[in-house]
Each structure stands twice: as C-alpha cells, then as structure tokens.
C-alpha cells in the first residue's frame, strides 16, 4: 500500500499549497492575477532549475520553448473560437517544443561530454533566432505587435477564476519535481552533474538522460507558455527572447536552483518585487544585479539553500524492505579482448604504438610497466576516452573501436579508475545503488520507488568484506578517506556484475595492510563473478600475490607477456627497468 506522499515530512509543499490558496483572499482578485503571471514564469523557471541545479548544464535560452508554447497555444485557442475541435490540438502545443528540445540536446550532448558551456550558447543563439523569426514572420506570429485577442480558456475569467488553474498547475509541477528528485532518476541526475564520466562507465547513456531531462524542462516551459497565452491574451516576440531567458536564470539562481519550490518562489518574489518596485525606485535593477552577484558568489544554492539541503539527505533513503534486484542485462560470458595494432596519438606524442595483445578467459592478469608506458591509456582507448587513430579493438568478436564509454560498458566491461572516482556529493548508499541499477533498471523504472530498495547477494557479500563501508552507508562519499573511497569504487565496479574488469591501480594510496585486504577482495570478487580482470599495478608484491599472467608495457607497446617469474627474467624487461646495456 503506497503511502500518500503528502504526509507530514513534506512541510515545504504544504506551506506552498497554503500560500497559493491564500493569495486571492489576502490581496484580492487583481493581486492574484499579478501573482498568477509570476507563477507562470515560475513554472518555466523550474525547468531551468531542473537542468542547471540537478543536471549541471545551464540553458540560457529557455524562453524559446516558453514562447513557442505560448504562440502555439495562442494560435490553437484563437482557432478554437471558430472551430472548437481545435482544442484537442492543445497538447501538441506542448509536445512540439519538447521534441525540439530533445533533438537539440541529443545532437549536442551525444557529440562530447565537454559540450556544456557550448550548449548554453547554442540555446541562447536559438532563443535569439526564435525572437527574430517571431518578429519577421508577421503573417503567422503577428510580428512586432504580437498575437493578440487570444480568448479565455473554457470561459474562465482571466482576472479571477483562471488564477486557480495556474496555481494548481504550479503546485502540481512543484510536487512532481519534488517527487522525481527523490526517485532513482533524481539520483542519476545529480550523478550526472557530479561525475558524468563515471556514470557512463556503468553503461548509462547519459546523453540520452540529459536530452530527456531537457525535453521535460522544455515541456514545463511550453506548458507555462500556454498558460501565459491564456492568461495574458497576447503573445509578443519578447516571450521568446534573450531578456526573458536570462530572467529565468536569475530567478532560478536567487530562488534556489536545486529546489523546485525555491525556483517557483524565486520567480514570484523577485519578479513581483521588480514589477512593483520599478515604479517607486529607479535603482531597483541595480539592487537586483547586486543581489544576483552576491548569490552567485556566496550562496550558490540561492534562498532555498538554507533549509532544503538538509531535507534532501534525510528523505532520499527509502524505508521499504530490500528486494532482490532483477538480473542484469549484461552478457554472461567472459568476453575475449583483442587489441590489434592500436595506435593512439595526442599532440604529436605516440601514446599507443601499434599495441597488440589479447586476453581470453577468466582470471586476473596484471599490467605493469614504467610511467608513460600507456597502461591507463589502454584502458582509456578501450572505454572510448581516447580517440583511436589506427588498428582495431574488439570485445567478444565485436569491433568496438571508437565506441562510447557506455556502449562498451554494456558489453559487460567494468572499470575502476586510477584516482577513486565516485559521486562525491551522494551518500555511499546512493553510490552503491547507482552501480546496482546499471543494466538492471529499464524504461520507466527509474521513475518508480522500487529500485531504491533493490539489493543483490553480491552486494551483501562485498559489504561484508568491507564492513567499514557498511557502517558508513549514509555518509557522503566525498567525506570518506582515500582507502574507503577505493573500496567503495571497487564495490561499485563489481555490482553490475561485469565479466571483464579493468582495475587501474586499485591499491594506490593504501597501506600494506589495506593493500593485502584489497588483493584478497579482488581475488574473491573475480572468482565470484567468474570474470576476467586486468589489473594495472606498480606494487610487485601485490602482483606476485595475485599469480596469473603479467603483461609488460613499454612506450605504448607490449614488451613481454607471461608469468611473473618469466617476465622478471626477460632481458628486454630488465633493460627497460634497470637500464642494462642493449
């Protein structure tokens, strides 16, 4: 029996509802009309806050979707006065901007991880193009004068009863966003903003996640725009332009970009205050500018930052009993890994020089070699982090040269980074769950509560081995010591049950005792998974303890391969390490 979500702990939402209801009674119909306008803007602001505060990319041109929704809805409403059937076309007014947003975001994000600031500028430029188009295309949009005479919706008087529609929608979006933030998708969003690289290595197609989120935020903006057209009765090109886009950003910043209620209230408070004080105080915008600078410099979470953060950590765990997670969709067999003449160069330096080696069957292998030998670069080339300029990489017979990190991960490859890479602002528990969901959570499951309670046997076993982690499940990962962070990342690497593990110096920074422990755990895990593992290690005693084949890399090539003793006696290897005569 699902618990009714509006129970006691959700205080801020209850207060919001109370506030919204009391507006017309406290200030009169006209006051409610004015607040209604800023609630509408607030919904669009929530869209901006979602992308910026949760996912970490900043849409600078969000008014494009707001204005598109406004013009489309306005057109539909006007047409419906002659032909009521047109009203059924209203949802299209919301879906077209969302679709446009999805396409835009997908095209940009799928090209590279580093496109964040460029994305912002693209949205800005598109907003300006939209503004230009709205001004010029007067036959359709009414040009400079705008699209006027938009009728009221369903006979609701825009100066009195329409307020309730707006308030209702604003409340619903706030509730929806507040709920989503606590669902798995919300945790994934935050993970993207903290460490998108890592998330991709688990097999999450982050470009799609970002595109979906952006499309959703555009949908919110378009919905706000549709309300705007009914509320105002006229839509002009300013609804699409640069100025409104930046106002959304300011309201999100001041109100609180990580809080849906904060973003809404930011728009209402700052926006309404601006509209009022502008008449009395001509330096008002100077104050807003100064306040904005202060917020950006000293209060990145805005006004809402003060109390929302504490709420978040408490509410993000579930009280549901743990259930067994569904099986992973990763392949069951240990894939064969073949590097065939792989060449990687950067800025003229040869990093991998026609590297050729292969790994077949389960078991741990070690990769050793001096600094700059290309060990980590091999992993990077395999997981799509370095562009391959020649040769072929294949996994289980599939040519994966140039594949992206998440595509490779989905073939059952797990990777642990050299510097422990976890989601530092999420708790240990949330970190583990993200790894657990990889390959198991599909479709709309990320919107449901159940994945929050998932567990697997391996997870329990790993946590038994690292009891320190078990005790710190609710600690923020960034606060863990180096050793615990290594442990956490290792456990996370194991949880998706990959069959080829790439471990990059898992014992770096560990004391001898911790190193010993880690090796034991690695051996246990690899055997438990029936997987193959490639371990980059500098500590020869650790390599010795592992047994198994050793690959020696040097200057981007495979120098020698075999058991440790063989390799240690190899003349070329000795020459490289000890500088013997050629």
């Amino acid at each position: 029996m699902k618990k009714w979500p509006f129970s006691f702990p959700h205080h801020p939402l209850g207060l919001l509802a109370l506030g919204l209801i009391s507006v017309p009674f406290v200030g009169g119909d006209f006051f409610a009309y004015q607040i209604g306008l800023f609630l509408i803007y607030g919904i669009a602001t929530q869209g901006v806050a979602l992308c910026w505060g949760r996912l970490g990319f900043l849409p600078l041109g969000h008014a494009l979707f707001f204005g598109l929704g406004a013009y489309l809805a306005g057109g539909v409403l006007k047409a419906s006065t002659k032909e009521p059937m047109w009203l059924f076309a209203l949802p299209i007014a919301l879906l077209i901007p969302a679709l446009l947003a999805w396409v835009l975001a997908f095209m940009v994000f799928s090209r590279s991880l580093r496109n964040g600031p460029y994305f912002s500028l693209i949205t800005l430029a598109m907003s300006m193009l939209g503004f230009l188009a709205a001004q010029q295309w007067s036959e359709v949009t009414g040009g400079f004068n705008g699209l006027g005479d938009i009728p009221e919706v369903a006979g609701l008087d825009r100066y009195s009863s329409f307020y309730w529609v707006v308030a209702c929608v604003a409340f619903c979006t706030t509730v929806l966003l507040s709920i989503l933030v606590k669902r798995p998708i919300g945790i994934l969003w935050r993970a993207i903003s903290q460490n998108e690289d890592r998330l991709q290595l688990f097999g999450y197609a982050t470009d799609r996640i970002k595109a979906n989120a952006f499309a959703f935020s555009a949908f919110l903006a378009a919905m706000a725009g549709a309300l705007f057209s009914a509320h105002q009765g006229i839509v002009t090109p300013q609804a699409l332009g640069f100025v409104l886009s930046t106002e959304f950003v300011i309201w999100a910043a001041v109100g609180g970009k990580s809080s849906p209620a904060g973003a809404l209230l930011g728009a209402v408070l700052v926006g309404y205050a601006s509209a009022e004080l502008r008449d009395f105080f001509s330096f008002w915008e100077v104050i807003v500018g100064a306040a904005f600078i202060v917020v950006v410099r000293f209060m990145p979470q805005g006004m809402a930052g003060i109390w929302i953060n504490k709420q978040e950590q408490k509410n993000s765990t579930t009280n549901d009993p743990p259930q067994l997670a569904p099986t992973s969709s990763a392949p069951y067999k240990v894939p064969d890994l073949i590097f065939d003449g792989v060449r990687v160069t950067q800025s003229g330096v040869k990093i991998l020089d026609a590297l050729t080696f292969s790994v077949n069957g389960p078991g741990i292998r070690a990769i050793i070699g001096p600094n700059g030998a290309g060990k980590t670069s091999t992993f990077n080339a395999l997981t799509g982090r370095l562009p391959v300029r020649g040769g072929k990489v294949s996994i289980a017979g599939i040519d994966v040269t140039g594949w992206r990190a998440w595509q490779v991960a989905r073939l059952g490859i797990g990777r642990k980074m050299q510097i422990p890479s976890v989601f530092s602002e999420l708790t240990v528990d949330q970190n583990l769950h993200i790894a657990l969901w990889a390959g198991r959570m599909h479709g709309t499951q990320s919107l449901q509560r159940s994945p929050l309670a998932w567990n697997t046997k391996i997870c329990d076993e790993m946590l038994d081995l690292f009891s320190a982690l078990k005790d710190q499940r609710h600690v923020t990962a960034g606060l863990l010591s180096q050793g615990h962070r290594q442990a956490l990342e290792f456990v996370m690497t194991v949880l998706p049950e990959p069959h080829l593990l790439l471990l990059d110096e898992p014992c770096a920074g560990l004391s001898p005792a911790e190193t010993h422990r880690m090796i034991e755990v690695i051996q246990f895990a690899v055997q438990r998974l029936g997987a193959a593992a490639l371990l980059i290690e500098h500590d020869i005693s650790a390599v010795a303890a592992l047994g198994g084949d050793v690959y020696v890399f040097h200057q981007g090539k495979l120098l020698a391969q075999g058991l440790l003793a063989e390799v240690q006696n190899n003349r070329d290897v000795r020459a490289v390490y000890a500088g013997a005569k050629k």
């Binding site: 009169g28 006209f30 009309y33 400079f144 004068n145 705008g146 938009i150 006229i234 002009t236 008449d279």
Partner: protein, 383 residues
C-alpha cells in the same frame, strides 16, 4: 467590481465629499502610460511633464466634468506583456477611468486587448494608422497626414525626381513607406529603392552606399530611434547630405540631438508639432511649460507633447458626451473640435484632423518652413 473595491470607492467618495473642496465629485483618475524604460525611455520625462502640465491646466479650468484630474503613471516602455500588467493595475486596482497612452504599437495592441472597450483609451503618438477599436481615440499623426500634402510640395520645391525609401522592418516603417510610395508615384517621380532594416542593426554603410548607387535625390526615412540617429549620421559622414534630401516623419528634437545639427543639412521633418513653432498657441504652451518646469525641463518634442494633446482630446470629448462611459463618448466624438498648441484640431473617425508642419534644420534646431492646415488623417473607421 468586487466587494472590496466597491467598499474602497465608497469610502473614498464619502471622505472627499466631507472635505472642503471646489470639486464637487471624486477625483478623476487618469492612467498615463508612458515609456519610463527601454529604447523609448528617453521620451518618458517630456511626456510626464506634458501630462502634468495638462492636468494642472485642466484642473485650473474646473477639471473634467467638474472632477479634478489625478494622474497615475505606468511604464509603457516594457514588453507588451508587462506594460499591460502596469495598465491593468492602474485600471483595475488604481481605479483609473480613462487612459492616455504614449507608446509603441505593440503595447497599444496589448492594451486594446486588455481594455476591450471598457475604458476610454487615448493613443497619442505618431503611428501607422488603422486603430479603430471601441473606446479608442487617436491623437497621433498618421502617414497619410504627414506625407500626403508634404511629398508633392517638397517634390515641386526641390525638383525631386528619384526617391529612395528606407524604414525599420515593422508595421509603422512599412506602412509609412507604402503610403509615401503612393504619393511619390502620383507626383510623377520614381521610386528607385525600398529597403527595411531590423531594429538591431547599427551599421548603415551598406544602405548608404546603395542610396548613392541608386542616384536618388531624396530619401524617405522611416526609421525609429537609434536606427534613425545612426543612419542619419552615417549618411552625412559619407557626404551625401549635400546632394541628397532627407524627409522623415519621426524625427523629433531628441533624435535631432543624437544626429547632430552638423549632420542635418537638407534634412526635413514632417510632424504635428515642433518645439520651435511660432504660432501664438504654441508659444504660449512653450512658455507655460518652461514656467512650470524651469530651465532644466526635459526638452519639448513631438512625442512628449502628444501626451498633452491626449488630455485635450479627453477633455473635449468628455465635455460633449457629458460622461466618461465609452458608449456615450463614442456616440459624441465625431466632429468635436478644440484648440491646442498644434493648432485647431477636429476629431474625425476616431482620429484627428490637424495642422502638419514641415521643418528643416538651422543652427538653432528645427525651423518650420511650411505649414499645412487641417490635414485629414486618411483613416476611416466604420464604427
């Protein structure tokens, strides 16, 4: 009207009727929508001053329908959505019973949609024509007014053969040039170029080059604000002002200040008002203005002064209609006339028949060189 508002008005009325006052009834609140920010913000101060002057003069005459005029100002320089918010506030919350608007057409469209003929709305600045909504009354000049008599006169005076038309790409620019083209062709002259620029442009060299290439001897300038300043300065800097004449319908004192008198050779402006008009009515007005506001007063110009015209129009129609209800005013408006600093004005078809002045520029600024009396607006509103 909800109970709260009704209560407020009743209380206010009662309070006023108790106070000793030459005005019998409650004050008449007039909402004045002028640009206080944005690109047209520079006209705000002069419009505000003219509105205040109008109100004080009207009040000294006994007010409108025996009621003292009280001004409520709203910022029309914002985007139409925000400007209509401001107007709405003055109307619904502030109790305004008439609206005087000196702002662009986009805001006008928004306000007409908001008011829906429920409150008398006086639109005062130069505009493109075509406003016929219920309850609206237009004091502003139309392209027909500013060009129909002027183009034949100036073509004959200066023996012009080829005209080039340039304007900002929106309804006022295009309508003005379209009307101008008509009149130009009727005089037998040619139109050798017709181009439109968006507001964001501030480099006009290409346009100036094209004007030069076209061999035009006159240019009809339907540019606004910064575009007008930029274009005219560039025009002069390429040496074209010696040989090619310019005529504009929205070149007022502020724009001239931006252009610079040195760059205004052979520049003509056609308008319903200039600060330098020497008719007795205009001079008296200028004197009252400087007396009330002193030497630092905002510079008088056609757009700011049009706000004053709006008040005179309101006063005249209200007097004839005996009421402020839109129905009665609409019924009474046709043929109402009054005298203003611009001359004798008659209301026809929601617009005004007024005098049109053509000025060129000398060392002191605008100098009226020709006056056309009682020029019709060329607008016909059916209702």
């Amino acid at each position: 009207m909800d109970r709260r508002h009704f209560l407020n008005t009743t209380v206010a009325t009662t309070a006023l009727s108790v106070a000793p006052n030459i005005f019998a009834a409650s004050p008449l609140k007039v909402a004045v929508m002028i640009p206080q920010s944005g690109p047209a913000g520079l006209f705000g101060p002069s419009a505000k001053a003219c509105a205040e002057l109008a109100a004080s003069e009207i009040n000294s005459r006994g007010g409108i329908l025996g009621r003292k005029v009280e001004l409520l100002f709203g910022d029309a320089g914002l985007a139409p959505a925000e400007a209509s918010q401001a107007a709405l506030k003055l109307w619904k919350s502030g109790g305004a019973e008439a609206v005087i608007g000196m702002h662009d057409s986009a805001v006008r469209g928004a306000l007409v949609g908001v008011f829906k003929g429920q409150v008398p709305y006086f639109y005062t600045p130069v505009y493109e024509g075509g406003e016929c909504a219920n309850g609206t009354y237009v004091a502003g000049e139309t392209p027909q007014q500013q060009l129909e008599p002027v183009i034949p006169w100036i073509t004959a005076e200066r023996k012009l053969k080829k005209w080039y038309l340039i304007g900002n790409d929106y309804i006022w620019g295009r309508n003005t040039n379209a009307a101008g083209k008509n009149y130009i062709l009727k005089t037998g002259a040619q139109v050798v170029g017709d181009e439109y620029l968006p507001f964001s442009v501030d480099n006009f060299d290409a346009s100036v080059a094209r004007i030069r290439d076209s061999g035009a001897d006159a240019v009809l300038v339907s540019l606004v604000g910064g575009a007008s300043v930029g274009f005219n300065k560039a025009f002069a800097s390429f040496g074209l002002s010696e040989k090619v004449l310019r005529l504009g319908t929205l070149i007022e004192e502020n724009t001239l200040a931006g252009i610079g008198i040195g760059n205004a050779k052979n520049l003509y402006s056609s308008s319903g008002y200039f600060a330098n008009i020497t008719t007795p009515a205009a001079k008296a007005f200028a004197q009252s203005y400087s007396k009330k506001f002193g030497p630092q007063a905002p510079m008088l110009n056609g757009l700011g002064q049009s706000t004053y015209e709006g008040f005179l129009m309101l006063e005249a129609i209200a007097r004839k209609a005996g009421s402020l209800s839109v129905a009665k005013m609409d019924a009474a408006r046709e043929g109402v006339n009054y005298n203003s600093p611009r001359g004798a004005v008659t209301i026809k078809s929601r617009h005004v028949e007024q005098d049109v002045y053509v000025a060129d520029v000398d060392a002191n600024g605008f100098r009226v060189v020709k006056t056309f009396s009682r020029v019709g607006s060329g607008q016909t509103c059916k209702a």
